[in-house]
Symmetry: C2
Subunit: 444 residues, 2 copies
Amino acid sequence: MYFTKSFIPILKNNPSEAKIKSHQLMLRVGMIKQSSSGIYSWLPLGFKVMKKIEQIVRDEQNKIGAQEILMPTIQSSEIWKESGRYEDYGQEMLRIKDRQNREMLYGPTNEELVTDIFRASVKSYKSLPQLLYHIQWKFRDEVRPRFGIMRCREFYMKDAYSFDISDDAAFFSYNKFFLSYLRTFKRLDLVAIPMAAETGPIGGNLSHEFVILAETGESKIFTDKKIFEVNSDDTKLEKQSLEELRKKYEKFYAVTDEKFNNEEFEKKVTEQDRLITKGIEVGHIFYFGDKYSKPMGASVDLTGGKKVFVKMGSYGVGVSRLVGAIIEAKYDDKNEVMKWPISIAPYDVSIIPMINKNDNTALEKSIKINTEFIKNNIEAIIDDSDENLSSKLKKMNLIGSPFQIIIGNQADGDTLEFKETGKKSTHIKLDEVIKIIKKEKEKI
Amino acid sequence: MYFTKSFIPILKNNPSEAKIKSHQLMLRVGMIKQSSSGIYSWLPLGFKVMKKIEQIVRDEQNKIGAQEILMPTIQSSEIWKESGRYEDYGQEMLRIKDRQNREMLYGPTNEELVTDIFRASVKSYKSLPQLLYHIQWKFRDEVRPRFGIMRCREFYMKDAYSFDISDDAAFFSYNKFFLSYLRTFKRLDLVAIPMAAETGPIGGNLSHEFVILAETGESKIFTDKKIFEVNSDDTKLEKQSLEELRKKYEKFYAVTDEKFNNEEFEKKVTEQDRLITKGIEVGHIFYFGDKYSKPMGASVDLTGGKKVFVKMGSYGVGVSRLVGAIIEAKYDDKNEVMKWPISIAPYDVSIIPMINKNDNTALEKSIKINTEFIKNNIEAIIDDSDENLSSKLKKMNLIGSPFQIIIGNQADGDTLEFKETGKKSTHIKLDEVIKIIKKEKEKI
């Protein structure tokens, strides 16, 4: 992609309305554009990152056997009256009357709708477990939208729902998502800690929030530092292995402020291991048994004619929110350097030629390099604009390809000035560069 | 995928509420489920087909240099007041008041929003042309939703928009989409005829509808049969080649009833070549110059300080509607046989073993075959249910994998009963089967 052909509207300075660094960067580098309060359009750069995150989230859902569906954004109020949540939800729910004066709403979450699909489709315990998910736009009419796409009104989420015959079977499903989330966030190069959490308006009595550390986070967190050493590398998608994984994490104190108890904290965590910091919620999982299946009559037949209300859980990842969360975790706003994890980077590498009037040598060299990249499945952006080298570098530091190649106007022989974004340059040959980038991409 | 693990709720009979065959099949075979009037959830089988269509549409947009963005579903009324369409749109527009009592709406189309993005982002003629597209849910509050997803309220569309400096440059963009659409529909195994059309509420004076023939179509069409011989195989993405393509099509009379003129029809088309039939609109392209850019002030600077309002076109493909349109074109409802084009089939092949009590030989054979398929990137569904062979066949004829393998309980040596769905069986070896399916997939 040539920068001059791309639709990447860059701002010279940080927009004054943006208070946190993800909002600043996203506006600055044309990833998003606000269309109205708390509602954003995603421009090509932001869209590319979000789509790559979406694909990783999807892939990890498929790996645990969840099946993808797609529920609509507009729902009827009727099912919400069945579950009893229509009034509970308050003003955050965007309520709509259609031309026939029917009460509709823009889905803020989908427990009711998925339960309605399930009860119409599944009759026998033999069809269980069922894990269904969708990735769809949701709307919550925040009274004060802020922080760009971190606390906006229209947002993109993956929601999964599990249906099981018993609590025991349902915990197995719950633990599958627990593992899936750890793997998802790892592929996004994030360290997400599962923390015991309140269930809030979703309900139920078992819940974990997945939180990444970030100074600008909205949640205060209290944790044992040793939890960062736990990992899921050896965990298998089997009942016992998953239970062990849960236990490994739950050995360590880790809660958000709503669950915080100082006495317990001090008792369970040695002084040197106590960490009080801030975090961003990137995922949340819930087990709520028959909270929806019972009032909505979602049951399956057992052998012998008995019926049982299915036991359900729900599992959310904020896909659009993750774009901002990753910026909060990775963006060095002092030096104005962003380096996207290569798994979700908009481009693998920026090619930055110095272009002088009447001298296209560096640009031509860039195009040749890009031809080799394309052959090797490496995606590059070439800054073919007529800006000077330092303003090009500044801009590409914001765009955030994890690697950069700088092509000055003096001949460098067959070595290239190559760098990891934000680090020091080295001078190596093109085939070395290709090897390094390909190796990095293989890790995804 | 095992049928018993899948979420494919099959109905025994055609649902009585469905009047056309796409609606019948989609409900019958669990591709969709109505959630409220004119609003549907997409279940795994329907979702898979729609996603594959979306990917082909996307791919062909990228090939002509269009860049993908994503505009939100909920828009502010303000930009619609700027363009003057807020009142025009009438009751089909779903109007919403948010908690701050602001007038919002669920986007029925996006000319205003994309013009707003453009005017905030592009200042110079040097950045033109720009082709932007998005694939997003839209809402039109139909007074009488019907025919399933063919005339529903919430639907999934690809919308593209072009921005150019002059009429002449804009026609080049228009023609790029013209070609892109022909290629898209061809990959979906559809013969779509571009027809001169009215511009309706979008406005402008140049427009083509892309129509596929189908008895159940809502548009009456009048055309010269010879138009079916025209193709875009040799067309290049160049100005002149594209103009020639347009001319090749426009040589032949082809209009929908709103543009029909009998005298002209009889004068231009010989009697034996006159075709009066029905069709389904699957795409629609418009050129409308500065209809939106002028009232909304979307201009670019020319050299010398002059400004010009950009010349715009818009280009729509109904992604969700195509699922139904393809069924209308391909489904043999008399014999209840659907055969999806392999480019968008939910599965490449159905493996149908005869399973008797205490005898799993055929199922085991199926699993072995599937292992080979997976190695060859062929996606199969195995009907591991305990139904009898004839009801399995009936069901798989509805699911519509383009190929079927039937595994009876007598030993067939190393040959398999293999058939193209809806055709006669042959007995061939597995490696032959793999060769045939792979060859078919390569054509996509």
